[in-house]
């Protein structure tokens, strides 16, 4: 059994020093070693997108990266989205537009949309659907997720203009 490695992770602006086996996925390291259980695991092979987090501000599957690979990179999880008690515009929009029911897939969708909107704040509906097609939701039928992302993008653009 290969030894554990000491890894320093920068997650949501905080530093976490953990000791993990190389085979441990970034998702498991975040949940079990950093105690950040907002990142959910569905399929564990890159299909469902529930574990999507931002690594160096890009949305990636945390089940398809090993925790040791995140050394030297910045990670953002759903816990880092809100500003204190103030919800991120995406979180607010999901809430107001019924963009979730059971909520299991929601952290992944939020981080996916947050990363994609950083790359392109002016996504068309087709762009939004293309991006969101990468994550699975079994409750909503997706329409309200698309709507929430569309409205959040509008809100974020309006704030950026102020």
């Amino acid at each position: 059994m290969p030894d554990k490695r000491d890894v320093t992770l920068a997650v949501n602006g905080k530093t976490y020093a953990v000791s993990v086996e190389p085979r441990r996925s970034l998702a498991d390291v975040l949940r079990d070693d950093c105690g950040l259980t907002g990142t959910h695991l569905g399929c564990e092979h890159g299909v469902c997108g529930a574990c999507t987090v931002l690594v160096n501000e890009k949305p990636v599957r945390a089940c398809l990266m090993f925790g040791v690979q995140a050394e030297g990179k910045t990670v953002r999880t759903v816990e880092g989205l809100a500003d204190g008690d103030t919800l991120h515009p995406l979180q607010q929009a999901f809430w107001e537009n019924h963009g979730l029911q059971c909520g299991f897939c929601t952290p992944g969708f939020l981080m996916l949309a947050a990363g994609a909107l950083q790359e392109n704040p002016d996504m068309t509906d087709d762009d939004i659907k293309d991006v969101l097609s990468s994550n699975l939701c079994r409750c909503t039928g997706y329409q309200n997720i698309v709507k929430a992302v569309r409205l959040a993008a509008r809100e974020m653009r309006a704030r950026a203009r102020i």
Partner: protein, 284 residues
């Protein structure tokens, strides 16, 4: 659904990486984007003893265009192609094709060279490389060699790369501005593996096809360049009758594989449809 134990090595530069590959050969696998390797490890279909993580090798993260080639370094991610990386038809084609590769987050990690090294029969980049006659630059401690696309792909998940080699660079031939390109892919859902796809490119002068490129993927153990059909296109006026004839011929030339997703007969129809739609786009 957790990977088996492995030893993790993270070289700082290419020289160090090549030395590790030379030492560990078949015991190690290169970890680049990991978007195919890690799922296989999570399923324990792959159990490499050692992973050599090349993600710190910034020297391999580049796109360079000169008069003859677009050179793609081994760490270039799929997402780099979301916007055209070169002016003209080649950049247009790559930006069109990249949208069909898995999904947005996968494209942020997965690499062009990783797709080619993995050699999945349904890989869009493998089809592009085979059809456009790419050259692969393989490096090892023994030196470097250039492998033509026609010699590179040996079959499902199998390439000409030796265990101590890394695919360091892919060279796609430059395309003059008067080339026109087309791509068509069919899959059940957005982001799924292609059940059939085709790439077409043509240079047309005054209504007559002067040069052509045509290939199909997702239907056999590797992407297939249809060289004889390219020859048949050259010298002829572009017309829908010509396209229909070429699509019919392509349908009969390939013995497609069958699996749970599509029967050989269904794939034969997809070959004809994909070729027709890709060619129609290129010759429009």
């Amino acid at each position: 659904m957790k990977a088996a134990a492995f030893d993790y090595l993270r070289p700082a530069d290419l020289g160090e990486a090549l030395a590790l590959l030379a030492t560990h050969k078949d015991d190690c696998k290169i970890l680049a984007g990991g978007q195919s390797l890690v799922p296989a490890m999570n399923f324990r279909l792959a159990r490499p003893a050692i992973l050599v993580d090349i993600n710190d090798l910034n020297e391999l993260d580049y796109l360079r265009a000169d008069a003859d080639h677009l050179k793609i370094g081994a760490l270039t991610r799929h997402a780099a192609f979301h916007r055209p990386v070169v002016e003209g038809p080649l950049g247009t084609l790559l930006a069109k094709v990249v949208r069909y590769i898995a999904h947005y987050p996968i494209r942020q990690r997965g690499t062009f060279a990783g797709s080619l090294s993995h050699a999945d029969p349904a890989s869009e980049w493998c089809l592009v490389a085979a059809t456009l006659r790419a050259e692969m630059l393989a490096k090892s401690v023994r030196g470097e060699r250039v492998i033509a696309a026609g010699d590179f792909f040996h079959g499902t998940f199998t390439t000409a790369l030796e265990p101590d080699e890394v695919l360091a660079e892919i060279r796609l031939p430059a395309m003059a501005p008067d080339w026109r390109v087309g791509f068509y892919e069919f899959s059940r859902r957005a982001g799924d593996f292609a059940l059939g796809m085709a790439v077409a490119a043509a240079r047309v002068e005054e209504g007559t096809i002067r040069e052509a490129r045509l290939g199909v993927g997702g239907v056999a153990d590797r992407a297939i360049r249809l060289g004889t059909l390219e020859d048949q296109l050259v010298g002829k006026p572009a017309s829908s009758a010509l396209i229909d004839g070429i699509a019919r011929e392509a349908r009969g030339m390939i013995e497609p594989n069958g699996d749970i997703h599509a029967s050989p007969e269904y794939r034969r129809d997809l070959i004809a449809t994909s070729v027709k739609r890709a060619l129609t786009e290129a010759l429009a």
